[in-house]
């Protein structure tokens, strides 16, 4: 692989989205090319730094509870207390 080819694939390499064959070829190039290896390292650093910086906002426990309650309320069968059951019970009484 040439430096240009590796440069085009560096994002996919750092993101682990290239094929095993591509990965092997890229790594072979990185072992012999300090310039491309430095570029790959910088991208990896950037990716990690972005990940750390972006994990920023946390939902409050209260908000989580509200969502869980909303889900359960919506999932509860609307007809669980309908006239059907009392009438059936009366009929069999």
């Amino acid at each position: 692989m040439t430096c240009e080819e590796v440069g085009r694939m560096l994002d996919a390499y750092v993101d682990e989205n290239c094929s095993p064959e591509e990965r092997t070829a890229i790594e072979a190039h990185l072992h012999s090319c300090t310039s491309c290896a430095s570029a790959a390292l910088r991208r990896l650093q950037m990716k990690r730094a972005t990940r750390e910086a972006a994990a920023r906002y946390s939902p409050s426990p209260d908000f989580r509870r509200r969502i869980e309650e909303s889900i359960r309320a919506k999932q509860r069968p609307a007809h669980w207390f309908s006239w059907g059951r009392p009438l059936a019970a009366l009929a069999t009484a």
């Binding site: 090319c33 906002y57 946390s58």
Partner: protein, 209 residues
Amino acid sequence: MPLVLAQPARWICPQQPAIEPWPDNFPLGYTVHSVTERAGDTGSFEELAMPHFARLFNFACWLTAEKAAAEDLVQETYMKALRGFSGFQQGTNFRAWIYRILRNTFLTSQAGLKNSTSIDDDEIAFEPSTDVTPEAILIAQVEQETIRRALEQLPLNSREVILLCDLEEMSYQEISQTIGVPIGTVMSRIARARKSMRTLLGSRKVATQ
């Protein structure tokens, strides 16, 4: 001696990981299976949806830039997802499915429409600096706040792919499913977003604020 890169370790979880509380249980290097790698998602709505809660909220905050709006967005997402859950094909990728709902809900909201139509890559005002380079900033491990500011300044379509790729560690295929564009477009957007990040980090505007 050439540099040898240490790739982040891949954590392969058989099911949706327990990811809360946030952010203590948010290890760097964590990777969920890609669409093709992972076993399909099966389970009740709550079992599938709640493990994504904290991350969806974080993603929503990055989209809306406002906590109250993010809460509204997440709530609407969960209610829409619950209503549409019968249409979710068990065994497919639930994460891409619910992120897509959140994203589409945001884009069709007033804030989303404004965000997606008023900002473009070309509109970022870059101020190149000769003495502050992105590399120097990163090597010196300059504060996360600088990177956050750069992220905030990215246009929406760049910010979302960076978040999905770097924070959520989605595969390109999963991102493609989430935002509804071909993988080639995902790759070009990621490349463009990172270029913008590098430029922003190298600019006085972000570095010295």
